[in-house]
């Protein structure tokens, strides 16, 4: 064990960590653009931007650069951002002269965006980012993306619950573990010269992460949970074991990798692509496509293959499945493996979209729970639908509530659903007695 740890540590040192972005990691970003007579976006350069606390104390200022952007680091909290209209380029004015300042909220580790619609005095207009339609579409896209990524973790959680009755709290760490497995694999692939194509090395890393995640799931059941089941350990005790396991895994990851945020080298620095009104990065797009593909495959496998039908049979009625000749323990083992692999892949997707960090899985665990509960415990489709609803709910709710509170909405939604329809959106009512 100690030897293994040494190897891991030494290996880590060989991996070059990607440099953090040059701009502020947390704070406020202002991007000023206007449309010129040819309807092309032009940056508004050299505009002074001031940031003050809600009480009016100035905490920072900057000047927009060649791209019309400026980013200012701040604490978390609510700030008043204003621009000095007198520094705007000649012939450009604020669309609404009274709106020279904006209130924005900065979350931990986030860049809050402040928008100032500009207008060329000849009437050819504006910063399009203020367009509500565009914002809604963008949020829906983000919501679908988040929902699909959550679903990758949720399906395993739901299948494990369905077949064994266990609420696996360590699932969060299976997601995190997948992220880090991919992170290491990517570094390794680059180090030995496989990184000719950036995308290739991440794709390879994702495959390796799935294998590692699947093996981890398989092992957890083989070494731990199958034995607990055999001993007749109660589900509550098993749940507490999974909590202990989760804490253990999370802090081992923290111990080995440290607390800082990492990013996949293959995808850092990519620019968002435009599709109509919606922007999405190439790697996000690929991830979304892949997750849809994987989910369809899982769905088909559950419907069409023998082992898939066996999984559903075990989830439906374990005793009946057992008596009709299905090797229940083998099916459960496989469910753990598939669940582990999907969670790991979900981890890679979440990691490439955001960051690779020891707590990443834990952060989404409650959202995954929310999705699973919403869709109905124990059903794979329910988990997918529930997660999509949660993802969209989280993102779209930022239209109405401060984004720091967006996860609260999802948690409230989950509690609400539990109360009015405990079996979830797609779950069946259980027969009592």
């Amino acid at each position: 064990m100690a030897g293994l740890m040494m190897v891991v540590v030494a290996f880590l040192m060989a991996v070059p960590f990607p440099a953090l972005g040059q701009e502020a990691e947390q704070g406020i970003r202002v991007k000023l653009q206007y449309r010129d007579a040819q309807n092309e976006n032009q940056p508004a350069v050299g505009v002074t931007v001031l940031v003050a606390t809600a009480d009016g104390v100035e905490v920072g200022s900057g000047v927009t650069g060649e791209t019309g952007e400026v980013a200012l680091a701040t604490e978390t909290g609510r700030f008043k951002v204003s621009i000095d209209p007198s520094t705007l380029p000649e012939g450009i004015t604020l669309k609404d002269p009274a709106a020279a300042s904006r209130d924005v909220t900065v979350d931990t580790g986030r860049l809050a965006v402040a928008l100032f619609p500009l207008e060329a005095s000849d009437g050819a207009v504006i910063l399009v980012e203020s367009d509500t339609m565009r914002r809604v579409l963008q949020l829906i896209t983000e919501g679908i993306k988040l929902g699909l990524f959550l679903a990758m973790g949720a399906i395993g959680l739901s299948l494990i619950f369905g077949t064994t009755g266990l609420v696996n709290f360590a699932h969060a760490e299976m997601v995190t573990w997948g992220m880090f497995a991919a992170f290491m694999a990517e570094g390794f692939a680059t180090a030995i010269g496989l990184g000719g194509s950036k995308t290739f090395s991440l794709a390879l890393a994702a495959v390796i992460a799935m294998v590692v995640g699947g093996a981890t799931g398989w092992l957890l059941d083989a070494v731990l949970f199958s034995r607990l089941r055999k001993r007749g350990t109660s589900l509550i005790s098993q749940m507490v074991v999974s909590i202990g396991l989760g804490i253990l895994a999370r802090y081992v990851i923290l111990y080995v990798f440290g607390g800082s945020s990492r990013f996949f080298a293959s995808v850092s620095g990519q620019r968002a692509m435009k599709f109509g009104l919606v922007e999405i990065t190439a790697s996000d797009l690929i991830s979304v496509g892949l997750s849809v593909g994987v989910l369809v495959l899982v769905g088909l496998a559950l419907q069409r293959t023998r082992i898939g039908r066996a999984m559903r049979a075990v989830a439906d009625n374990r005793d009946l499945a057992e008596s009709s000749g299905i090797d229940v323990q083998r099916v459960i083992r496989l469910v753990w493996a598939v669940g582990g692999a999907l969670a790991a892949l979900g981890g890679v997707f979440l990691g490439q979209a955001d960051q690779v960090q020891w707590e990443s899985g834990t952060r989404v665990l409650l959202l995954i729970f929310a999705g699973v509960t919403l869709g109905g415990l124990g059903t794979a489709y329910g988990a997918l639908v529930g997660c999509l609803a949660i993802g969209m709910g989280i993102q779209v709710s930022t239209l109405f509530i401060p984004s720091e509170l967006k996860n609260l909405g999802a948690l409230f939604l989950m509690i609400f659903v539990l109360l009015i329809r405990p079996q979830g959106i797609l779950g069946r009512k259980q027969r009592i007695g």
């Binding site: 069946r428 009512k429 027969r431 009592i432 007695g433």
Partner: protein
């Protein structure tokens, strides 16, 4: 002495001279499956009524509905002249209708005596604020304990008094559950398969206990599979199949009822006919020799 039921027509839904329980139009479905659809049943006070039927006939669901553990889709229930449609299980228990379960629910990590004491009604010490001050409840507790010890002796469980209930055998648990139910001095006791999983040596003593309940004036309703048991102790038999009551009567008439035979052996004729039989309650009135298949 149990009431004379000879004047009661042996057909589903027949009215009893002194009913303690009346059920009308009770329905319960799970998804599309109708588990219970009982048009009318009355239970006579002070006798032993057996509820029988093939597997999946809806007997346990019927019990759950009767005792408030499950909510019917519709219908009315009357207990001792009072409508009990909106009563919860614990309210019904306090009114005097207690039940036991098919899978015994002995409280394994409580001692046998604690199990018994739990059964008593109206305990002052069960209120939070009172419980903090022992003098307010210790006298009552001693009374309850004395009563519990009496019952334990009667059910021959007194030697297990301080054991965890979880250490009892299956049959002893059934006895404990029955004794515990008696602690509340009920007027109706509903026993869900009291003989299931009991070793034969204990069966006889359990049967005697059930009969002695009738002697004390307690109304007994019980679900049972074993026809020998039913023949031995029941005064009246209600037969369910596919959620409906298909026959009623003293056990002598039940054995000859075609609908009952079909239900148990599986219908060989058209299913429609079977349902008709259930609805119209075609039990041929007993011939003059109706009383004697056993003797």
């Amino acid at each position: 002495m149990p009431a004379d039921l000879s004047s009661v027509a042996p057909e589903p839904g027949s009215a009893k001279p002194d009913p303690i329980l009346q059920v009308e139009g009770m329905r319960r479905s799970f998804g599309g499956l109708v588990a219970v659809d009982v048009e009318k049943v009355e239970i006579q006070r002070g006798i032993i009524t057996a509820l029988i039927g093939p597997n999946g006939a809806g007997k346990t669901t019927f019990f759950n509905l009767l005792t408030g553990f499950d909510e019917p889709d519709g219908g009315t229930r009357v207990f001792d002249g009072k409508n009990i449609d909106s009563k919860t299980p614990h309210q019904l228990a306090r009114m005097g209708m207690v039940r036991t379960f098919q899978l015994t629910k002995s409280l394994t990590k409580l001692s046998v005596i604690d199990n018994m004491k739990l059964g008593a009604k109206g305990q002052r010490g069960e209120s939070f604020l009172v419980s903090i001050i022992p003098p307010l409840w210790s006298a009552q507790e001693r009374e309850i304990e004395a009563r519990a010890d009496d019952l334990l002796r009667r059910f021959k469980l007194d030697h297990m008094r301080e054991q965890y209930a979880g250490t009892l055998s299956g049959g002893q648990r059934k006895l404990l559950e029955m004794a515990r139910a008696l602690m509340s001095s009920p007027s109706v006791i509903c026993l869900d398969e009291p003989m299931a999983g009991v070793n034969p040596a204990l069966t006889q003593s359990l049967l005697e206990h059930v009969k002695s309940l009738r002697e004390e004036g307690i109304t007994v309703i019980f679900v049972e599979h074993d026809m020998d048991v039913v023949r031995d102790i029941s005064d009246w038999v209600v037969v369910m199949a596919e959620g409906r009551v298909i026959a009623e009567g003293p056990h002598e008439t039940i054995g000859k009822n075609q609908a009952v035979i079909d239900a148990y052996l599986g219908a060989h004729h058209d299913a429609d006919l079977d349902l008709d039989a259930g609805e119209e309650a075609v039990i041929p009135p007993p011939e003059d020799s109706a009383n004697g298949e056993e003797e």
